[in-house]
């Protein structure tokens, strides 16, 4: 599909401090792209460049083939949902939604029709005359979406739209937002710092690491085929061990002369690595399993912590060699303090190894 939004080599710095370095990215028509990143990663700045509240130092932004880089926000026709909603407190729900339509000089009769149309879309029919302070946080959120959708924007931008909601409300609103955007068939760019939210709503996820793109792809790709140790550790639960590459796909960890202190495991190489190189191996908890202490090719240790999250039980194992591994196990597994061995699970997602960067294993 032809790209609808094209970001070309965007750079932005504030007061000499680079915030975004060389961002290039495309979004297809009708796609929901999530910008994921920790605070300070530049995701909000990137969204503000796209919306026009900031201008890039270098680079271009194209939407539908038209360059909008220097266009002021009011002439871009992008809908925006703000983190704190930014509903106009001195207007009713309907006035808020009508605001963008009046900017387009839409006739009054049509405005009314469009307002009730979008209110219906966000399941708030009959709330038009309420004051925005009189409705709940979740409803305010949907009004903010309705207001952004009303003028038929070319592109919808959402800045951490759920961060102001209670956790239980967040999941429901997330689904409603996603459905509403899908129904209209709009292209959307959604900023969040929550990986679960990103995976749930995004067709593709762009992970930002201190101002540059770490990886862009569908959620399963980011989870199963992370392109760097950073991505692997940021997305989902993971633990990291240091090792040495013996042969292609064979990693030696620890000292194999002592039983339980070293193993040789198979792993997927995410980069071109040469035999003898030091690597870091990233394990998903479901790639590992607990075994009796006398097992072969296992790392010995003892249970340090047991975390029950409802859908699974996680065991934090303190290895005899000093590091820790997070292992997904059974509900009726060993107790804290019990000696165990950790082995590779045969059906789990394979561990991935990356060239060793300096820094401790965690």
């Amino acid at each position: 599909m032809a790209p609808f939004v094209e970001l070309e080599q965007l750079r932005k710095s504030f007061g000499g401090q680079p915030v975004l370095t060389d961002i290039s990215l495309t979004v297809s028509e009708g796609e929901i792209l999530v910008l994921l990143g920790a605070s300070g990663s530049g995701k909000t700045t990137l969204l503000r460049l796209i919306s026009g509240f900031e201008t890039p130092d270098e680079g271009a932004i194209l939407v539908g083939g038209e360059e909008v880089t220097d266009l002021p926000p009011e002439r871009r026709n992008f809908g925006m949902v703000f983190q704190h909603y930014a509903l106009f407190p001195h207007m009713t729900v309907a006035d808020n939604i009508a605001f963008g339509l009046e900017s387009q000089k839409m006739p009054r009769e049509e405005v009314e029709g469009r307002v009730s149309e979008v209110l219906e879309l966000v399941e708030l029919s009959g709330y038009g005359e309420r004051r925005v302070q009189e409705i709940s946080g979740g409803q305010q959120q949907r009004v903010a979406l309705a207001r952004a959708l009303a003028p038929h924007p070319r592109l919808l931008l959402l800045d951490e739209p759920l961060s102001n909601l209670d956790p239980e409300l967040r999941e429901r609103t997330r689904r409603q937002l996603r459905q509403a955007i899908r129904r209209v068939g709009l292209t959307a760019i959604w900023v969040t710092h929550e990986q679960e939210e990103a995976f749930d709503v995004g067709d593709r996820v762009a992970l930002l690491e201190t101002g540059s793109l770490a990886q862009v792809g569908p959620p399963d790709e980011l989870y199963l085929e992370p392109s760097s140790r950073f991505v692997a550790a940021f997305v989902g639960r993971a633990s990291v061990l240091k090792g040495v590459l013996k042969a292609a796909g064979q990693i030696e960890i620890g000292d194999r002369r002592y039983r339980g202190h070293g193993v040789c495991w198979t792993a997927v190489m995410s980069q071109d690595l040469e035999a003898g190189e030091e690597v870091e191996v990233v394990f998903r908890p479901e790639a590992l399993q607990l075994a009796p202490t006398d097992v072969d090719e296992g790392l010995a240790g003892e249970i340090e912590e047991r975390r029950f999250t409802g859908e699974a039980t996680f065991y934090l194992v303190k290895l005899a060699m000093g590091e820790r591994l997070l292992v997904r196990g059974e509900l009726d597994g060993p107790d804290v303090g019990e000696p165990v061995s950790v082995v590779l699970r045969s059906q789990g997602p394979p561990p991935r190894c990356f060239r060793s960067a300096d820094g401790g294993a965690e």
Binding site: S51, G52, F53, T55, P72, P73, E74, R75, R76, N77, F78, G79, M80, F82, Q83, H84, A86, L87, F88, P89, H90, F99, G100, S103, Q104, R147, A148, P151, L157
Partner: protein, 550 residues
């Protein structure tokens, strides 16, 4: 976009310097004999004259004494109204803050009618003891101090009340739990926490008193302070001397402003750390104490409000009917009829109204624009703009009057000077400059609380800057802007201090007409003007007070 803001900000800085700072520099420039030969002769002359030193000294000690007296009234009142509860506390509590909103001249003539030699009190005492003449003349430093204490206690009252309301009750409880008695708590906890507020009120009183003109002018007689000395020099045609005096007074005020900023920055550190529940008001259990405190509160409030009632009463006394009686024998509306039916007497009212309105609208626009540029520009630009907009507030009105009269008496367009003296535009300009701190600071306060994402939301919905201003910014800033505007309007409407230097016959404002009515012995008409000012000011003050709470 950002660089455009910065550029507009520095253009505004240049404009404000022209409006606020330049006239002062021109005054200094001309006081040193320039553009002719540079000379310090006028300053030497100033230093040589004993009466100049006396005026300077009298300005200083009157201001000190006013500060002490105002504190002596205001602080106990604040404790009484904030820490105890009695019937009528709330309504009295806000009523006694009213004098702050009244034009100083109105307070002065109200005092004259109440405590002056032919006022109610003097008449009563004269009759009571069968004296041949009035027991006193209301003049000299005593009279000035009386008026100052009466009108300036409000600063101490309001500041102390606000600080007491913010006082964290856990501090008091902590002191009590550590075994401190009430006096010790007051001395070691309450007062130190109040210190920044008290220092702020003290400086404000000092500066207001230093700038005070109405009371020294009406009651001073031969007793001159700097402000009255300046006006006297100007009227005597000693322009250079008036300029030197103006420069001296301005320097004094700048020292005050500098001290104020220091106190300001200190107080935020102290108050910023205090957060929690305000202490509960002491419910007085014993009926005797309860009624005692209530009576005290009512009597104090009555004494403080009595001058205004007097003014109202005098406005209903027909001319020539009140001679030797203690209370006026006849009351009717003839003074109001006289004023309303004579175009010549209505003229000053209309003058004041249009000039104050024009000045207020200008001050709102300029104040809002400056505040916005200050906040969007931030950093050094923001601080420079904020300081510039505060300068007129710290400078006595007399200083500005002389500075504007000096600057706008010649036509030198290239030097940024034009002839405005003698035109109807000088007074509104002077009012505007003096109102700028009020509208500017309230706009700043409003904009600081304004969520900028609201404006971004409007922009993302396709609204251009004009629609954003009209539909989003102005409606949401209205409370803050209205608060500043209403204070600006009353200040301009009742202005006496700049008017007396700058008015022409055609633009004479209410205050000047009050003065000439008094000279013509038309006390009733003067009182009607006073009542008019009081009503408009009171209304504006109520608007201000209501919006303060939003």
């Amino acid at each position: 976009m950002a660089s455009r803001t910065i550029r507009a900000g520095w253009i505004m800085v240049a404009f404000l310097i022209w409006l606020v700072g330049y006239p002062l520099l021109i005054t200094l420039w001309e006081a040193t004999g320039l553009p002719g030969d540079f000379t310090l002769q006028h300053f030497v002359e100033f230093g040589r004259r004993a009466d100049e030193w006396r005026a300077l000294w009298q300005s200083l000690w009157i201001s000190m004494a006013s500060m002490v007296l105002a504190a002596a009234i205001g602080v106990p009142m604040a404790f009484l109204f904030e820490r105890t509860d009695f019937p009528g506390r709330q309504i009295l509590g806000s009523l006694i803050a009213l004098p702050v909103a009244l034009p100083p001249l109105v307070g002065v003539i109200a005092f004259l009618f109440l405590y002056g030699e032919s006022g109610f009190v003097a008449r009563g005492i004269q009759r009571l003891f069968g004296l041949a003449s009035a027991p006193w003349r209301l003049s000299g430093p005593g009279a000035i101090l009386l008026v100052h204490a009466y009108s300036m206690y409000v600063y101490f009252y309001l500041f102390t009340r606000a600080a007491l309301a913010r006082l964290d009750s856990s501090l008091l409880e902590a002191a009590a739990s550590l075994g401190a008695w009430r006096w010790r708590t007051l001395r070691t906890v309450t007062l130190p926490v109040l210190a920044p507020a008290l220092a702020g009120a003290a400086l404000l009183t000092f500066m207001t008193s230093l700038a005070s003109f109405s009371a020294p002018y009406i009651f001073g007689g031969g007793f001159r302070v700097m402000t009255t000395q300046i006006v006297a020099s100007k009227l005597n045609g000693e322009i250079a001397m008036a300029q030197v005096e103006t420069v001296t007074l301005a320097a004094l005020a700048f020292v005050g402003l500098w001290a104020m900023r220091r106190v300001d920055s200190g107080s935020t550190a102290v108050v910023g750390g205090v957060r929690g529940l305000a202490p509960v008001r002491r419910q007085l259990r014993r009926p005797l104490a309860r009624w005692g405190v209530a009576t005290l509160g009512w009597v104090l409030a009555l004494v403080l409000l009595l001058p205004h009632f007097t003014l109202l009463l005098i406005s209903f006394v027909p001319p020539g009917t009140w001679t030797v009686e203690i209370v006026p024998p006849v009351l009717d509306g003839s003074n109001y009829v006289t004023l309303l039916s004579s175009p010549e007497r209505l003229r000053p009212v209309l003058n004041s109204l249009w000039m104050a309105a024009v000045a207020t609208v200008g001050a709102i626009a300029l104040g809002l624009a400056t505040a916005r540029l200050s906040i969007r520009g931030g950093g050094r630009l923001g601080r420079v703009l904020e300081t510039l907009i505060s300068v007129p507030w710290a400078l006595p009105g007399t200083v500005f009057a002389i500075a504007l009269a000096t600057t706008f008496a010649v036509n030198l367009p290239l030097a940024g000077r034009m002839v405005l003296v003698g035109t109807p535009w000088l007074l509104p300009l002077a009012y505007l400059v003096r109102s700028l701190p009020l509208t500017g600071r309230s706009s700043l306060a409003g904009l600081r609380q304004f969520d900028s994402s609201l404006e971004e939301a409007a922009a993302s919905l396709g609204a251009g800057w004009w629609r954003r201003l009209r539909r989003i910014l102005l409606p949401l800033l209205r409370p803050a802007v209205m608060a500043g505007a209403s204070l600006a309007f009353i200040t301009a409407l009742g202005d006496f201090v700049t008017s007396i230097v700058l008015y022409t016959f055609d633009t004479r404002p209410i205050s000047i007409e009050i003065l000439s009515s008094l000279r013509l012995q038309e006390t009733g008409v003067a009182a009607v003007y006073g009542v008019l000012l009081m009503l408009v000011s009171g209304t504006a003050f109520v608007i201000w007070g209501r919006d303060q709470r939003i």
